[in-house]
């Protein structure tokens, strides 16, 4: 509608000409701390728990399956198509639906399931954050609609923080339509500043670190 008019008034206010090049931007500010894997794992777990999430560390994929099996016992769960979940054997657990590729089916299941199970593309140690990249392997709604979210993450995917994420992944849009950072359970303090968890997203979150 008003494209040209708006761009033109921006240019004349700034004294710029159409097509004029952009002077060099301030350099990107990325700082990469050196933190070993054990320290990353420890920091991630402390931060997740500080946000009232649950953080556990298991040694092997089989241990992860056992932990998840106990956590979802008696509940309906939806699992993502992440290869790492398959490696752990989670899709075969009783009560778990997996392998969904049709949106309507996925949506209906997520709306009624008690638990959503995903992996995560990365986790951020310094803030207790899960990085979820939308793809055929990870849908958006599994970590969003059910009241509880379990993420099973190999310890090798834990980054130190935002700086390392954007250093590794300078242009997320080249790979996905949606990258979501999840830091703790859904919450609000909109009424009298009282903290309530599980407003629209999951009120419970558990991070299982494998290895």
């Amino acid at each position: 509608m008003s494209r040209e008019a708006i761009l033109q008034s921006v240019r004349s206010a700034l004294g710029r000409a159409a097509g004029q090049a952009i002077p060099e931007a301030p350099p990107v500010r990325i700082r990469l701390p050196e933190i070993d894997v054990e320290a990353r794992i420890a920091s991630l777990m402390v931060r997740v728990e500080a946000l009232a999430g649950e953080a556990v560390r298991v040694a092997t994929p089989a241990d992860a399956r056992a932990w998840v099996a106990a956590a979802i016992e008696g509940k309906q769960a939806v699992a993502s198509n992440a290869p790492f979940l398959a490696e752990c054997g989670i899709p075969a657990l009783p009560g778990v639906r997996c392998g969904l590729t049709v949106e309507s089916e996925l949506r209906a299941l997520c709306a009624t399931a008690g638990v959503g199970i995903t992996s995560a593309d990365y986790a951020l140690a310094d803030t207790g954050t899960l990085v979820m990249i939308s793809s055929p392997r990870e849908a958006r709604l599994i970590s969003l609609l059910p009241p509880a979210h379990i993420a099973v993450v190999p310890s090798s995917r834990i980054l130190s923080g935002l700086d390392e994420l954007f250093a590794k992944f300078p242009l997320p849009a080249e790979q996905t339509s949606s990258m979501v950072l999840i830091t703790g359970p859904s919450r609000t303090a909109d009424i009298e500043q009282i903290l309530v968890r599980g407003v629209h997203g999951p009120g419970k979150i558990a991070v299982v670190v494998v290895g």
Binding site: I22, S178, T183, R187, D190
Partner: protein, 472 residues
């Protein structure tokens, strides 16, 4: 001062419950911010502020080129940019799209820009249902009120207010337990999310090198609004542009910390275009509405265009001794607090609320907490000067100018100044409770009355500072 603003201020000051609510909430947000930027948890806080300021300044100074870059990248990912100059154009675009797609129900996540342009009312007039989904915004939509605060919109509502609003408007039983009220909203809004045809969001950042919209939130309503419906429309002011995705490593560290004291908000969504081939869910159509609505007017002045650097964290409200007393509704437009006093006169004209730039003690606390280093006190002073210039050219404020000229003259004559100082106690009324609240009888004519109505003065001391100094 405008009478409307005057009335709101006096109402707020006279309401003990509201005073308590605003002071407690802003106090808590303020303390959380301080803890989250403390040197032991964020040692490079000041460097990040400097970087954020430089990035915003650079983006605004080259805004046209960055908008074009944003648009190119967005369209490369299958999204579409729509430029709108004002409220009517935004509404026309959405109504047109809704008509073409046969859409009726819209879910909306928090957006200050849509408050600027009264979008819900405009859409509802044409038969669309547009539902706010942020809990605070939802409460206010049901109560027909505007946001009280940038990040805590329903800060002035108690659980008892919410119980009244929900039972009156939703027909649910009167319920005062906050967890249960939240569960009610979750259930009602969950239905809406799953049935909605269109999701509307704002944008915290528009990333030029990615064509991406970044949304920061805690509840999950922005994620649902942008994931469940088939169409996502993000509505953003043109000033929201940042150059690169990598700059988020700077901005995201500052935004949530400054707003609520969280290290990161619960959900940060980085969205670029509709779902890609193979992705299982997400919208099929993705639009970004780039809105001017007065912003290009602010760009012309190199000093004042920094008003457009604001990332809407609300830290200046929480720290402002004036906002914390007079509250959000004393400010005449959607933006309140120091940033509101700076934005409103520039968007609406100084005549809209000439008292606004004066609703500040110029203590500088706002500039100290601003994560992008906007020089708010300087802007307030400049806007005060605009108001006074307008008064002068329209022949208002003669008495005030005369009084200040007299005072300036007195200041230049030390002997007379001292004499006046000695005489002051003789003429000054006796202060009640140690304060002079008004002047008696004859002197209480309009210009002086207007002045003392707004200000309490300590009574002049028996001995002046000069005398004390001499006899030291």
């Amino acid at each position: 001062m405008t009478t409307e603003m005057h009335r709101h201020i006096h109402e707020t000051l006279g309401d003990a419950r509201l005073q308590d609510a605003v002071l407690t909430a802003t106090g808590r947000l303020k303390a959380s911010r301080i803890a989250a930027v403390a040197p032991d948890v964020l040692p490079d806080y000041q460097e990040l502020r400097t970087q954020a300021h430089a990035l915003k300044k650079h983006a605004i100074e080259n805004l046209d080129a960055y908008l074009e870059q944003f648009e190119r990248n967005l369209e490369a990912h299958g999204g579409k940019a729509v430029y709108c100059k004002d409220a009517a154009e935004v509404a026309d675009f959405i109504l047109g799209l809704a008509r073409e797609r046969g859409a009726r129900l819209i879910v909306k996540s928090k957006s200050m820009l849509t408050e600027e342009i009264d979008l819900n009312e405009r859409l509802e007039k044409h038969g669309l249902e547009s539902v706010e989904t942020d809990l605070g915004e939802y409460i206010l939509q049901l109560a027909h009120e505007r946001p009280y605060h940038l990040v805590a919109p329903a800060l002035h509502k108690t659980r008892y207010d919410v119980a009244e609003i929900f039972s009156a408007r939703l027909g649910v039983p009167h319920e005062i337990v906050i967890e249960k009220q939240t569960a009610t909203a979750r259930a009602v809004l969950r239905e809406k999310f799953l049935a909605a045809d269109i999701g509307i969001s704002g944008a915290n950042f528009l990333v030029a090198d990615s064509g991406a919209v970044v949304l920061v939130e805690n509840e999950g309503n922005a994620r649902l609004s942008t994931s469940a419906p088939k169409i996502h429309i993000a509505i953003a002011g043109i000033e929201k542009i940042i150059p690169r995705a990598q700059d988020l490593a700077t901005f995201l560290k500052l935004l949530a910390r400054s707003a609520t004291g969280q290290w990161l908000s619960v959900y940060t969504s980085f969205l670029s275009g509709p779902r890609r081939a193979g992705e299982i869910d997400g919208p099929e159509e993705f639009y970004v509405v780039l809105v001017d609505n007065g912003r290009t007017r602010l760009l012309a002045d190199p000093g004042r265009r920094q008003s457009l650097h604001c990332i809407r964290c609300g830290a200046c409200l929480n720290t402002c001794p004036v906002y914390r007393r007079i509250g959000g509704y004393s400010f005449p437009w959607v933006y309140s607090g120091p940033i509101g006093s700076v934005l409103t006169p520039q968007f609406m004209g100084t005549a809209h609320a000439p008292g606004l730039p004066f609703a500040s003690s110029l203590c500088g606390a706002c500039a100290e907490v601003c994560p992008v280093k906007i020089d708010l006190p300087k802007l307030l002073l400049e806007l005060r000067s605009d108001v006074k210039e307008a008064d002068k050219s329209e022949g208002r404020g003669r008495w005030e100018r005369l009084a200040f000229r007299l005072f300036a003259w007195l200041m230049r004559h030390p002997r007379l100044y001292e004499m006046a100082g000695k005489m002051a106690p003789m003429f000054a009324p006796s202060g009640k409770g140690g304060w002079i609240r008004s002047v008696p009888g004859l002197m209480n004519f309009p210009p002086i009355k207007a002045w003392t109505d707004e200000r309490d003065l300590p009574p002049p001391p028996a001995k002046s500072f000069r005398e004390t100094w001499r006899r030291r």
